[in-house]
């Protein structure tokens, strides 16, 4: 372990925390009428932090903080880049949306940043309690964000559902953590990994299942996925975007660490692998199948994101550098693909106050750019080349097949082709339906930038995945 300067390593986390508190303070101190420029402030600060984090990724030193309590490796930094990028894009795309909020616009950003901070802690945490606190920081921020439209019954319904289910799931996660602590006397992942091992005892089995359930809830692994669509549908669209993209990625960051360090001990047998494979397969199947009859765009994206979680699980189960690389790669492109789609959804929500698929009718006429972005994003999610999603799926499934899991690759590929069905249904509505009487949807400023940027990235990575792939490899290797 290398000694390191506390301040430099934790800079992004501290910066985000401070930023979040500043925004809260502004909300408290400055009267509502005089508050201006909170979005630019957020954006530029995030940009700065993101830039620093990227620098950190390439030139920073690996280190473990407080004897393994907190990790500063490329894996963690990779995820931090991801969270920050996601937060930045969400903030950029939500400018217009937030402007329409009746009150508490500044707090919205603050909460968003608090959630981001929670995620960053999760990615960096090397210890279960830290993970838990980070997770709760993120989740509680989300409870509030989901219910943010306080006079919208759907929003608060989603909020309370998320809260009850989230709290229950974190209770079971905690129970699992307590069992782990009981089994090993430690909550530090490295030590836990060292002391688990050998035969699988009933208690370690139970702990594993509880941890899996708790984290599976966050990544919406079937059958722990049921909350997802309801919350996605009810939440404000930018929040849905952030929830779908970043909170899931954060849970994956934790899952990867926990899985590789603890579950991947010899004790975690072939049965566990099989179970996970079955769960991943069911997740892909259920997510994609239920997405087919959906009529609400956000709900559709929710089911699609359930399916995506299934794909990502495949990479984890592969348990190899290639697999983790696939997960990391996919998680990153997933940000851009989903962000494009959600930017359009946000725009539609902002202008038309709805997120039904039929409200996209004739979007081609009303806003060609939004249509193109939406199409590209959806097709990337479906894994159609030359968009990034294809390469991502290729990495994931080839890693799985390399480990001999061929059946899951069949299911994965076939399911992703079936997913094209519902993605194309959306595309069809945009291109074909006339959309009589629906307003024009001009795209300006930040959201336009978001759309174009995400689309370009999606295409660019699809055409030339090498840079991102190298980042993902570096991050994945830092784990092994």
């Amino acid at each position: 372990m290398v000694e390191f300067n506390f301040a430099t390593v934790l800079t992004p986390e501290i910066a985000i925390a401070v930023l979040s508190l500043i925004l809260l303070a502004i909300g408290l101190l400055i009267p509502a009428g005089a508050r201006k420029g909170m979005m630019p402030l957020t954006v530029f600060s995030l940009l700065g932090v993101l830039g620093y984090t990227l620098y950190d990724f390439f030139y920073g030193q690996e280190a473990a903080f407080l004897g393994g309590m907190y990790m500063h490796d490329q894996f963690a930094v990779y995820f931090k880049v991801l969270f920050l990028a996601a937060a930045l894009l969400v903030v950029l795309s939500s400018g217009g949306y937030v402007q329409k909020l009746p009150k508490h616009r500044g707090e919205f950003y603050a909460l968003l940043l608090a959630a981001t901070l929670g995620m960053m802690l999760m990615a960096g945490a090397g210890e279960l309690i830290t993970i838990y606190v980070g997770l709760e920081l993120m989740t509680i921020s989300f409870y509030i964000l989901v219910a943010y439209l306080a006079d919208d019954a759907r929003s608060s319904e989603a909020g309370i559902k998320y809260l009850v289910l989230g709290a229950t799931s974190s209770a079971i996660l905690l129970y699992g953590i307590s069992l782990i602590y009981g089994l090993t006397g430690s909550t530090q992942l490295v030590e836990v990994a060292g002391r688990l091992g050998g035969e699988l005892t009933p208690a370690s089995l139970l702990a594993t299942v509880f941890l899996l359930a708790g984290l599976g809830f966050k990544i919406s692994l079937v059958p722990f996925h049921l909350w997802g669509p309801d919350i996605y549908e009810g939440a404000p669209t930018p929040v849905t975007a952030f929830l779908a993209i970043a909170s899931k990625a954060a849970a994956f960051a934790v899952l990867i660490r926990v899985y590789l360090l603890t579950m991947n001990s010899q004790a975690f047998s072939a049965t566990g692998q099989t179970l996970l494979l079955v769960l991943a397969a069911i997740t892909m199947i259920v997510g994609n199948l239920i997405a087919i009859p959906q009529t609400n765009l956000k709900r559709l994206l929710a089911y699609s994101s359930i399916a995506q979680a299934g794909y990502l699980m495949v990479g984890i189960i592969a348990e190899s550098t290639a697999g983790i690389k696939g997960v990391l790669f996919y998680a990153m492109i997933y940000v851009f693909a989903n962000m494009g789609a959600f930017a359009v959804a946000t725009l539609i929500d902002e202008k038309q106050g709805s997120s039904e698929i039929k409200d996209l009718a004739g979007l081609w006429r009303r806003s060609p750019l939004a249509t193109v972005v939406m199409t590209a994003s959806l097709l990337s999610l479906a894994g159609i080349p030359p968009l990034a999603g294809f390469v991502g799926k290729f990495y994931l499934f080839s890693a799985a097949m390399d480990q001999g899991y061929v059946a899951i690759a069949y299911i994965g590929f076939v399911m992703s082709m079936i997913s094209v069905y519902y993605y194309l249904s959306v595309v069809k509505v945009m291109f074909l339906a006339e959309g009589e009487g629906l307003p024009d949807v001009p795209v300006h400023g930040a959201i336009k930038f978001t759309m174009v940027f995400t689309m370009l990235i999606t295409i660019a990575i699809g055409l030339y995945p090498t840079p991102l792939a190298q980042m993902a490899i570096a991050a994945a290797q830092s784990l092994f």
Binding site: Y132, E136, A150, I160, T168, S170, S178, S186, P229
Partner: protein, 115 residues
């Protein structure tokens, strides 16, 4: 009941108490209709976990002699309490919001979002 005093109160006993509380809380979450009752049940579950942490902390062998590490269970419990308090605060605020929107705290009626 007669031999109650002869029973040694060991780890398993504490754990069983924790498990019972956990499952009672779970039952509450699954079976009650009032959202506030749900929140209370969740608190029960978190308490159960805390019993676990503290019990493990007391009864378990620990490699490290350093006192800091010996208290991990307690620290965990503290964090759980903090988080639970925060959760309750947010939860109750939410319930009030919902009550204002729908004039009901009945969880059965929260099904506008489905399918």
């Amino acid at each position: 009941m007669m031999n109650l005093s002869n029973l040694s109160v060991g780890l398993s006993t504490y754990l069983l108490v924790g498990a019972m509380l956990f499952c009672l809380g779970l039952y509450g979450v699954l079976a009650k209709r009032n959202i506030i009752a749900l929140l209370m049940s969740i608190e029960l579950m978190l308490n159960a976990v805390n019993i676990n942490f503290v019990a493990f902390n007391r009864f378990l062998w620990n490699q490290k002699i350093d006192v800091h590490y010996l208290l991990t269970g307690h620290v965990a419990a503290i964090f759980v309490i903090v988080v639970a308090a925060a959760e309750v605060a947010v939860g109750l605020a939410l319930i009030i919001t919902i009550y204002r929107n729908r004039r009901s705290t009945n969880v059965d009626e929260l099904n506008w979002l489905k399918w």
